[in-house]
């Protein structure tokens, strides 16, 4: 488990490791869907240094606008 630099949840997981052993890992946060590589600059990987304008509050995620809205199921459509 790792801390997501963007939404600071602690649920991020490794999705791949570098083909050259030990170079980097790619992590994915299942809360805000942020993805990062451990070899990226610390302005991307460090929660304390991640740009504040791009931070995501996990509580806001369920309220994100749907694009496009989910249409009503239409009876008889096939």
């Amino acid at each position: 488990m790792h801390i997501c630099p963007r939404c600071e949840s602690n649920r991020s997981e490794v999705v791949t490791r570098s083909p050259v052993k030990g170079a980097w890992e790619v992590l994915l946060c299942p809360v805000c869907m942020f993805t990062w590589r451990t070899s990226e600059p610390d302005s991307i990987t460090d929660p304390a240094k991640y740009k504040s304008a791009f931070k995501v509050n996990p509580q806001d995620i369920p309220n994100a606008a749907h694009v496009p809205p989910i249409p009503e199921w239409v009876q008889g459509r096939s």
């Binding site: 170079a23 994915l28 869907m33 590589r37 070899s39 994100a64 496009p68």
Partner: protein, 472 residues
């Protein structure tokens, strides 16, 4: 002139001195994006980049900026690389009129070499990387996506081939942004009204003609494959997908097959966009990938996008201008001369036209607002006279500075639609639009002092021809 596949086009670029191979080791971030941004800052004749030594990878090969300059755009059309932009525009328009050219069907394709249906992991298979610092993740942004109209599946032109940004959000999951003005939004709605998933196929590393057709704002029932055939002057080669009745570009490097999950929305973004701003984060549809096939040692194509100009602007410049040109000509066949809608995908469009009577140019501007592309773009339409070259911005600025009277010639139409990515739209997707009439007033619009336009010395046309031949 058709290119056999993506590699064939890269070979042409190399032969023409328009491909730069970077063999020094680079980091996936920030080097790949930084090199591209730097290249885009260096003018409009830059080469494509080919990276073959990427930190942490053993055999990743990444091509970028493949269409990111006017010489590369000319080569895409099989023209000499130094072909002037205006000539590329008129040649594209000529080929556009050859539409439709029926496709050529094949049974197998090079990308059938390697197939994966179990334990799919896009992060393992594709050398993914971040483009801009605020991006929410790694994106596919030069892949074409194929889907079919569910209400009318037998009308070939309603099969859509489009370029959409897709965020890689899991080992077999992508997020997609279906802007309402784009065709994929129609197909997703049709599927969701049925409560069904929408089958899709995604092709990466395509030769540039289909990428160009996929990014052209064609009418809804016009086939991108049949337009690719028109642009390349011979039938476009396609092969069937395995999990759906969808046609795939024969020359692609990698194919992903999957489905848009009905009724599902998931946080996506932000992504640094062609508007020079990030898109913000919103809940968007999700694609589940079920099958992947690819050539051995595939070449991964990617596109840097950000503050204009980038590869996007070269890629969607001429092919955005031409449909507007044709649709305006449908309405005013004897007047429309040329259209330049190259600025931020046509958020600004410049139309050169003859005028028949006072007020005519404003009508041309309003027609531009109601074309299919204009509904989502064309926020500012500048109309100039027939003798002003809309691709020559100093001439356009001259027309604005001398022909336009703000009291008479600035028309604002309130409350129109725009793509939601326009950062100035408020609410997102709504805007006022403006027409600037920079044509010379004619009767009955009698005003200003325009009876003594400056002419040229005699013989200029002959000298222009002579000098351009001497300079070739």
């Amino acid at each position: 002139m058709a290119y056999k596949d993506f590699r064939d086009f890269l070979h042409t670029l190399e032969k023409e001195g328009q491909l730069l191979t970077i063999s020094d080791e680079v980091k996936p971030e920030p080097d790949l994006a930084a090199a591209n941004r730097a290249l885009n800052n260096m003018g409009d004749k830059t080469p494509a980049l080919f990276f073959n030594n990427i930190y942490g990878y053993t055999d990743a090969r990444i091509a970028m900026n493949v269409m990111g300059s006017w010489p590369n755009h000319a080569l895409m059309m099989g023209m000499p690389k130094n072909t002037p932009l205006k000539e590329q525009f008129f040649e594209f328009a000529r080929r556009y009129e050859q539409f439709p050219v029926p496709v050529k069907r094949e049974e197998t394709a090079p990308f059938h070499e390697v197939e994966i249906t179990e334990d799919i992991n896009l992060f393992d298979i594709l050398p993914l990387f971040r483009l801009n610092q605020g991006d929410g993740g790694f994106y596919l942004d030069k892949a074409i996506l194929v889907s079919r109209d569910l209400d009318d599946p037998d009308t070939y032109g309603k099969q859509n081939v489009g370029l959409y940004r897709m965020q890689v959000k899991g080992k077999n999951r992508l997020g997609i942004q279906p802007v309402p003005q784009h065709d994929i939004a129609i197909h997703i709605r049709q599927a969701e009204e049925r409560g069904e998933n929408l089958k899709v196929a995604i092709a990466l590393g395509c030769e540039p003609v289909i990428t160009t057709a996929a990014s052209t704002p064609l009418l809804y029932d016009q086939s991108e494959y049949e337009m690719a055939g028109a642009i390349q002057g011979e039938p476009y080669r396609v092969v069937k997908a395995k999990d759906a009745d969808l046609d795939l570009p024969w020359g692609a490097e990698v194919i992903l097959e999957g489905e848009v999950l009905a009724g599902e929305r998931e946080f996506e973004g932000p992504f640094g966009e062609f508007t020079g701003h990030y898109s913000g984060g919103r809940a968007m549809p999700v694609i589940q990938i079920n099958r992947i096939y690819h050539r051995k040692q595939p070449i991964f194509e990617h596109l840097y996008i950000g503050m204009p100009w980038t590869e996007t602007d070269y890629m969607i410049g001429v092919n955005t201008s031409v449909p507007l040109f044709q649709q305006l000509k449908d309405a005013f066949p004897n007047e429309i001369v040329a259209v330049n809608a190259m600025y931020t995908h046509g958020l600004v469009a410049i139309i050169s036209t003859k005028t028949r009577y006072g007020g005519f140019a404003k009508a041309v501007g309003m027609r531009a607002l109601t074309t299919p592309h204009g509904l989502g773009y064309c926020k500012l339409v500048i109309v100039v006279d027939e003798d002003v070259d809309p691709f020559n911005l100093p001439q356009v600025m001259w027309a604005l500075s001398t022909k336009l009277h703000p009291k008479h010639d600035a028309v604002i139409v309130p409350g129109l639609s725009i793509l939601p990515l326009d950062p100035g739209s408020d609410p997102a997707g709504m805007t006022h639009k403006m027409i600037l009439d920079a044509t010379t007033p004619i009767a009955p619009d009698i005003r200003g002092h325009y009876s003594q336009p400056l002419d040229s010395p005699l013989g200029v046309a002959e000298w222009e021809k002579k000098l351009s031949q001497m300079l070739r």
